[in-house]
């Protein structure tokens, strides 16, 4: 599946202004901003303590940051790149998901086995839902009906009805599920199991596992293959899976679930996000402290940029 | 008439020994000279000096009027050499070997083609042009080497034991070809050998022994002067140390 053309430098297809990627640096308590056309670091912003999960509001006006050690979700005004206020979040927020309605934030509180639902406009807690032990991954379905949370120790996906904020169903998956991702059509969920070393494909209607993807990289011990971040292309073609200490990103055919290739990136690759109209994929490499840039057409890693220490999450503003 | 080759007081020392000791030669145009001497007499050293593989300041060498010290390249251009050991590329064809040699003498491709045709015709090898040298027998290879040496139309042809290792009929044929060259082309030939029976009475004989020239005159004249019947006896008489020929 290799393309024959080798670009020396990635040029964005559209001549519009470059996307900016925001990377949270867990140990430095900063965000690194990257120009995705020039592939250069633009600036570094100080934020709260131990920033991990970051996502934009759907209108890209605000950037929400889980500042885990500050026990808060910080709100950054994108126009000024300044923190304007905090949101209540419960203790130790790591990952969260923003409902399509743009004002309900579902936050996983790792230590308390709960998911806290926060209204971003009213800035108060709407609900707290009991889930399994060590909740981590969060995702909201595109139609707004479901919000899924993964609990790492109980190895489950918890299905939350977004209209009633109630836990309705559970699906057992492989060990230590860390991340969930919906397909664009909302019919399927991809869930990565870190210790299990697999990615489970779950049908939303039946809430049952339809397929399991295994990974094997020649020369890399299977214990090192720990899938974490997952990202799917809108055209339904590819799924990318970050494999942690295996230092590779797996490229999966989203239709056949066949692993097509493994791309070498930095050490302990964690989370992924698209940029430049899904032409690029950025990966955060925690241990090596850099971000790798993958060309999604050629399926090649074109550059790796140094950012802060232990980059965790990445969010891209078009 | 200018000399084809003029060697003046040439001496060459190797490891404390004089391999050539006061050698003087004057070779005239269009003549055949047989250089006779046993192994170790210094024949090859002389040839190496003539074609500048060895160098010395002890004496002077002029090839077709060009000094090897002052105009070494012109001197080389006037020489054609056939070495004792075969120097052909076995894997290449006859033509490729000849073309290579021609290019080393700066001959244009047109001139080179014409010269190759001419020489191969003379040695009756035209039909072997595209054959690999490896497929040729010893006699044919020798002929190719002589043809090659003549491509650039040298004034003087040096042959270092040209017929060594060949059988009798082949040797005779080669020797005939060589002697014919002097007549047909006016070329000077200096042919060295250690075999007495290669020297014919009509040749001009030069006898080299232990680095010295013992004789330098037409063979028949030498036979008459020494009052001997054959070159063998002539040789024995002149080499007082009694080394076998």
């Amino acid at each position: 599946m290799k393309s024959w053309i080798l670009p020396a430098m990635m040029m964005a297809a559209s001549p519009a202004m470059a996307d900016i990627a925001y990377v949270s640096n867990e140990k430095d308590d900063t965000l690194t901003l990257i120009d995705t056309d020039a592939l250069e670091v633009l600036q570094t912003i100080d934020v709260g303590m131990r920033p991990r999960g970051i996502i934009f509001s759907h209108d890209y006006k605000y950037l929400y940051i889980c500042a885990s050690d500050s026990d808060a979700v910080q709100v950054l005004d994108v126009a000024t790149n300044k923190i304007i206020h905090n949101l209540p979040s419960g203790e130790d927020p790591e990952q969260f998901a923003l409902h399509p309605n743009n004002h309900h934030l579902y936050i996983a509180n790792e230590d308390d086995a709960v998911v806290t639902v926060v209204d971003t406009e009213k800035r108060d807690v709407v609900a707290q839902i009991d889930v399994g032990v060590e909740p981590e991954g969060m995702a909201a379905s595109p139609d707004g009906k479901w919000v899924i949370n993964t609990s790492e120790t109980t190895n489950m996906l918890h299905w939350i009805d977004a209209s009633t904020q109630e836990l309705v169903d559970n699906t057992l998956v492989d060990q230590r599920p860390r991340h969930v991702e919906f397909t664009k059509d909302g019919k399927t969920v991809w869930s990565s199991s870190e210790i299990g070393g697999t990615v489970s494909i779950v049908d939303v209607a039946s809430k049952a596992i339809t397929h399991t993807i295994n990974f094997k990289i020649p020369g890399v011990h299977r214990d090192k293959i720990q899938p974490v971040g997952v990202k799917l292309t809108n055209n339904g073609k590819y799924a990318f899976v970050a494999l942690g200490p295996a230092n590779h990103v797996a490229v999966v055919d989203a239709k056949t679930y066949e692993v097509l290739d493994y791309l070498l990136v930095g050490r302990r690759v964690w989370m992924l996000e698209f940029a430049n109209d899904q032409k690029l994929l950025l990966t955060t490499n925690g241990v090596s402290g850099d971000v790798s840039v993958i060309d999604t057409d050629d399926l090649k890693v074109i550059k790796t940029l140094k950012v802060g220490r232990y980059p965790w999450g990445v969010a891209v503003k078009p | 008439m200018s000399l084809a080759l003029n060697v003046d007081s040439l001496r060459y020392r190797y490891q404390q020994k004089w391999v050539l000791d006061n050698v003087n030669l004057q070779l005239e145009q269009g003549q055949f000279y047989a250089l006779l001497g046993p192994n170790g007499a210094g024949k090859s050293t002389l040839f190496n000096l003539l074609c500048q593989l060895l160098q010395t300041r002890d004496g002077a060498i002029d090839v077709a009027g060009h000094s090897t010290l002052k105009a070494p390249r012109k001197a080389l251009a006037a020489l054609g050499i056939v070495f004792q050991q075969s120097t052909l590329d076995l894997d290449l064809t006859v033509q490729q070997n000849l073309e290579y040699h021609a290019s080393l003498h700066g001959m244009s491709s047109k001139a080179s083609k014409a010269a190759i045709e001419r020489e191969l015709a003379r040695f009756e090898l035209i039909d072997r042009k595209k054959d690999s040298v490896r497929s040729l027998n010893g006699g044919h290879r020798r002929r190719v080497e002589i043809a090659r040496a003549l491509l650039h139309d040298p004034a003087i042809l040096l042959l270092d034991e040209a017929s060594v290792g060949l059988d009798m009929p082949t040797r005779d044929s080669i020797n005939q070809h060589i002697r014919g060259l002097c007549e047909s082309r006016g070329i000077t030939v200096l042919s060295s050998t250690h075999l007495v029976d290669e020297v014919l009475p009509e040749d001009h004989l030069i006898l080299l022994h232990q680095g010295k020239i013992l004789l330098d005159k037409p063979c028949q004249q030498a036979l008459d002067d020494e009052q001997v019947g054959g070159v063998k006896s002539l040789y024995r008489n002149l080499t007082t140390s009694g080394e076998a020929a």
Binding site: G219, L264, T304 | T87, E99, L104, S109
Partner: protein, 265 residues
């Protein structure tokens, strides 16, 4: 004009001879390809922590050793050419070259360039096979690599010529090859980046850093990735000129080998 004809003749002869020895091409390629496949399979994982120029991101080991293996092709062929010169001398073909009326330095440099061209062809054959095995470089890199390969090939050919001047017989040459070729290759950046050598042994690092082969390999590496390494370029150029100079001086019949040779009987 004469010079051009002679140069062409010398290059063409080398190419004909190379063509007739196809086994040479195959064995020249088998060695580095074996390394590529075997080593690379073993060292699949990333090449350590630092990303060194000219690379922009993490690379696998087989990508790293590609320029080094191209270098070893040039090294072996450079030595092979000089081996054939020793053979030529023993077989007498060298005499034909040396009795040409053109200046000797010109003839020897022509022979070196001819050998370098053959090296170049072998290197590109290697790149082609590497490409088929999935190891590619940017397209223009293959073009920029040509001068880099040529200079390095010249340097190594000159080294071969230099060695052949002082070696009398074919049998001795093989031994010299072992004392020159393998140390040159292993104590260089061909198989491991210099910073990795520095971590393990300071002495190894210094020897490798001063090894002209390292600079040749780096010159090729940067060229393949459309970049330019000034240090590598200057060191390689200067070393080539020096080696050529000494080699040609060594071939002069007043000194060097020729004089030491006993006059033949």
């Amino acid at each position: 004009m004469k010079y051009w004809v002679a140069f062409k003749g010398i290059v063409i002869r080398e190419m004909w001879r190379f063509w007739h020895q196809k086994a040479r091409l195959v064995s020249a390629l088998v060695r580095p390809l074996l390394w590529l496949v075997v080593f690379a399979a073993g060292f699949r994982a990333a090449l350590g922590i630092a990303i060194i120029p000219p690379y922009d991101t993490y690379i696998t080991y087989d990508v790293y050793i590609m320029p080094g293996l191209a270098g070893i092709i040039l090294l072996f062929n450079g030595m092979q050419s000089s081996l054939s010169m020793v053979y030529d001398r023993e077989m007498g073909s060298m005499k034909i070259l040396l009795t040409s009326p053109l200046p000797r330095p010109f003839l020897l440099v022509s022979k070196l360039v001819a050998g370098a061209i053959i090296s170049l062809l072998q290197a590109y054959a290697f790149f082609l096979i590497a490409w088929l095995l999935g190891i590619e470089v940017p397209l223009m890199g293959y073009v920029y690599a040509a001068p880099a390969l040529l200079i390095t090939a010249l340097m190594l050919g000159a080294l071969g010529l230099l060695l052949s001047s002082f070696i009398k017989q074919l049998e001795n040459f093989a031994g010299v090859m072992n004392f020159v070729v393998f140390p040159m290759f292993f104590l260089s950046s061909a198989l491991y980046p210099l910073w990795k050598l520095k971590e393990s042994n300071e002495w190894l690092y210094w020897v490798s850093a001063y090894n002209p082969f390292t600079h040749g390999v780096e010159l090729i590496r940067f060229a393949l990735y459309e970049s330019w390494n000034p240090t590598a370029t200057w060191v390689t150029l200067v070393t080539t000129v020096v080696f050529c100079g000494v080699a040609i001086w060594g071939y002069d019949p007043k000194r060097g080998m020729q004089q030491k040779k006993k006059p033949s009987k």
